[in-house]
């Protein structure tokens, strides 16, 4: 057992399990979509997701009727769950872009099996994320004039010097590029599904999505160019989006926010959270649909390694925050860190350190990385830890600022929880709908990884 594992994990090991042909890859992946029934767990998960989505709609409707007063936010903590969840969700999205863009440019072939559903995850996470600032405005239908620059009848533009506006551009650019990247990458697979399905209506639907793809050399050449260009466009976004999100905090002068370490450690945290979420989804999906041949232990090991690296960067960030609070000799900074460690929210801070700093140290051990149960436990710890991190940043910084007269406490209400859990459900529902109607693994890219796909040049005579 150990021998097969280690042979599987050597750098020369094939990224997909041996013994596949072009036909078997195509059949295996497309059969998940082109079937009349889905496995029972699919129905269970999608239904729970659906129920939570309904709860989300209920919570939002009540919010729009009553106003943000139903949430726990109040001065001095004006940013509660809404901003915590925004940052958490947008961070989760980052793995998709990293896998699809940066790993593509770096020629990391192992990205192929996981990029499609990681990109889908990105899009759904961005949808959940973008929802929060919108509903946080209370009256979203009035918000768009100060979010979007258009020649409105008030003769004023949004405040371009505010990071909140940069946010709008960062998130909308990110969403646009992610969707484009995803759709362009789907084109050849749409054609495969169009050709494989027997249902006349589905043939038309997939046919429209395939944009007339015939697989000619010209098509492939244009496709490769477009995909590479989009990857180039998406690459800076991996860095920029979460940097801009971190500016929401760093531009403010609140101790705990006004810090230059935020952009790099937010980006690392985003990739950390994103890979944790990819693993959270990949491990059950792989088991549910028997995709062990395509998402091999090598993929899982690689993702765990990325988590370890980014987790160490994030942990370094926490340590530097504490170090500079001491080194700066600034009493407000010192108090902020001390308050985090020993103040009213101390359990959250220490849980964060445990989940994000201590638990991932287990990933140094190959045994932990290759044991799905222990790895899953670590990824769940990271999912929780990254959420706690945003809670600590948003709440503990605001609740004790410079003047003790403006101190306060933040307690989420059931509406906060319903909205948050609702987006989790919406994410699950969208994810399961996606695996049902679109190939969750890129068929044509996996085909290209087969040994048969390597065409040897004829030796020159």
């Amino acid at each position: 057992m150990n021998e097969t594992r280690s042979s599987q994990l050597s750098p020369q090991a094939p990224i997909i399990a041996p013994g596949h042909t072009f036909g078997s890859v195509t059949d295996k992946i497309s059969s998940i979509v082109l079937t009349k029934s889905a496995p029972i767990p699919w129905y269970v998960a999608a239904f729970i997701g659906f129920l939570c989505t309904m709860m989300l709609f209920y919570a939002i409707t009540y919010l729009l009727l009553k106003g943000v007063g139903i949430w726990g936010v109040n001065i001095p903590i004006g940013w509660g769950f809404a901003i915590i969840n925004l940052v958490w969700w947008i961070g989760i999205g980052h793995a998709g872009t990293l896998i699809s863009a940066i790993l593509l440019l770096l020629n990391q072939k192992w990205r192929t099996s996981i990029n499609r559903f990681a990109e889908a995850m990105t899009i759904f996470a961005v949808m959940c994320a973008a929802l929060f600032p919108l509903i946080h405005t209370g009256r979203p239908w009035l918000a768009w004039y100060w979010l979007l620059p258009y020649p409105n009848t008030m003769g004023v533009w949004p405040q371009f010097r505010s990071p909140l506006i940069w946010d709008v551009f960062a998130i909308s650019t990110y969403a646009t590029v992610s969707v484009l990247f995803w759709l362009v990458g789907l084109i050849p697979d749409m054609a495969t599904l169009r050709d494989k399905t027997v249902h006349p209506l589905l043939k038309k639907v997939y046919g429209v999505a395939a944009l007339g793809w015939r697989g000619s050399a010209k098509h492939w050449s244009r496709y490769e160019t477009a995909y590479l260009l989009l990857a180039g466009l998406a690459t800076p976004l991996v860095i920029s989006v979460h940097s801009v999100i971190s500016f929401d905090f760093t531009i403010g002068i609140i101790p705990g926010w006004h810090s230059t370490i935020f952009p790099p450690y937010f980006v690392a945290g985003a990739i950390y959270a994103g890979f944790a979420m990819v693993l959270t989804l990949a491990i059950p999906l792989r088991a549910l649909y028997g995709l062990h041949d395509f998402i091999t232990m090598r993929h899982i090991d690689n993702m765990a390694k990325v988590m370890l690296v980014t987790g160490l960067i994030v942990f370094y960030g926490y340590n530097m925050e504490a170090f500079f609070a001491w080194y700066s000799a600034n009493q407000y900074e010192t108090f902020m860190v001390w308050n985090r460690m020993t103040g009213p929210y101390w359990p959250i801070y220490w849980s964060l350190i445990f989940c994000n700093g201590v638990a991932p140290q287990l990933l140094w051990f190959k045994k932990v990385r290759l044991n799905l149960k222990s790895l899953y436990a670590v990824t769940m710890a990271v999912n929780v830890g990254m959420w706690l991190e945003r809670f600590v940043i948003v709440v503990t910084s605001l609740h004790r600022d410079f003047v003790p007269s403006s101190w306060g406490m933040y307690y989420p209400t059931r509406w906060d929880w319903m909205t948050f859990i609702g987006t989790l459900g919406m994410f699950v529902m969208l994810m399961f709908l996606f695996v049902r109607v679109l190939p969750m693994i890129s068929i044509f890219e996996v085909r290209a990884l087969l040994p048969q796909a390597k065409v040897k040049e004829a030796p020159a005579e």
């Binding site: 258009y150 409105n152 009848t153 008030m154 003769g155 043939k203 038309k204 046919g207 007339g212």
Partner: protein, 219 residues
């Protein structure tokens, strides 16, 4: 395998590209144009009133000063609508039997005010004060237009914020000497900018930064 799409699908696909661009353009144009249309702003649309009162006749033809009826305009935030008694000052003697004026007489007899339809109605979240504008040299006609030429009252300007703030950003383009505020025939001189700058100083008009601050109008 038979073809899924007929040959005209190619044309449709190309046309859809053009359609998306066109739809985007139309949408952009709608966003800009609809909120500024007369349909939304009610500019140039006379409102039905209980009595078809003509400013053209009274202010233009008769030459009655604005302040004869709107007595509080110089001292109060609100330029008042005159009580029926003000009408009856003249109309107890003039056109005493005109059917058109029966609502006025009925209002006077029954001691119930006339229910005029308000034409210049700012949103409730806007604080507007007539007296400060009058005392800093903003003419009546600058905002209300040539009321002395309006048979029935209508809005000359949109009263939208971009219109308000245009003047708050460049007050020197619109100010006139105080003694010309109620002059309906006033024409700005050729050296308006020069005059405006002088008046801004003379009347101690607050700096642009202050009068374009949010809380100047949204208190």
């Amino acid at each position: 395998m038979s073809q899924i799409f007929t040959k005209n699908a190619n044309t449709l696909a190309r046309a859809s590209l053009v359609a998306v661009v066109l739809a985007g353009g139309v949408f952009g144009w709608l966003i800009v144009a609809v909120p500024r249309s007369d349909y939304i702003t009610r500019v140039d649309v006379p409102r039905p009133q209980p009595v078809p009162f003509s400013h053209k006749h009274h202010a233009g033809g008769m030459g009655i000063d604005c302040r004869y009826c709107h007595t509080t305009v110089e001292t109060s935030g609100f330029a008042n609508i005159p009580p029926t008694k003000t009408c009856m000052n003249c109309h107890s003697q003039l056109f005493t039997n005109a059917a058109l004026l029966e609502p006025v007489r009925a209002s006077f007899r029954n001691d119930t005010p006339l229910a005029w339809t308000r034409v210049h109605d700012l949103p409730d979240f806007v604080y507007f004060d007539h007296s400060i504008h009058v005392s800093k040299g903003v003419g009546c006609a600058t905002c209300h237009g040539r009321v002395d030429q309006m048979p029935l009252m209508y809005k000359e300007n949109t009263l939208q914020m971009e219109w308000c703030i245009n003047c708050h950003r460049h007050p020197e383009e619109f100010l006139r000497p105080r003694d010309q505020v109620f002059n309906m025939q006033y024409q700005p001189p050729a050296n308006q900018i020069e005059l405006g700058r002088r008046l801004v100083k003379e009347y101690n008009v607050a700096g642009v930064q202050q009068i374009t601050s949010c809380s100047t109008c949204h208190r």
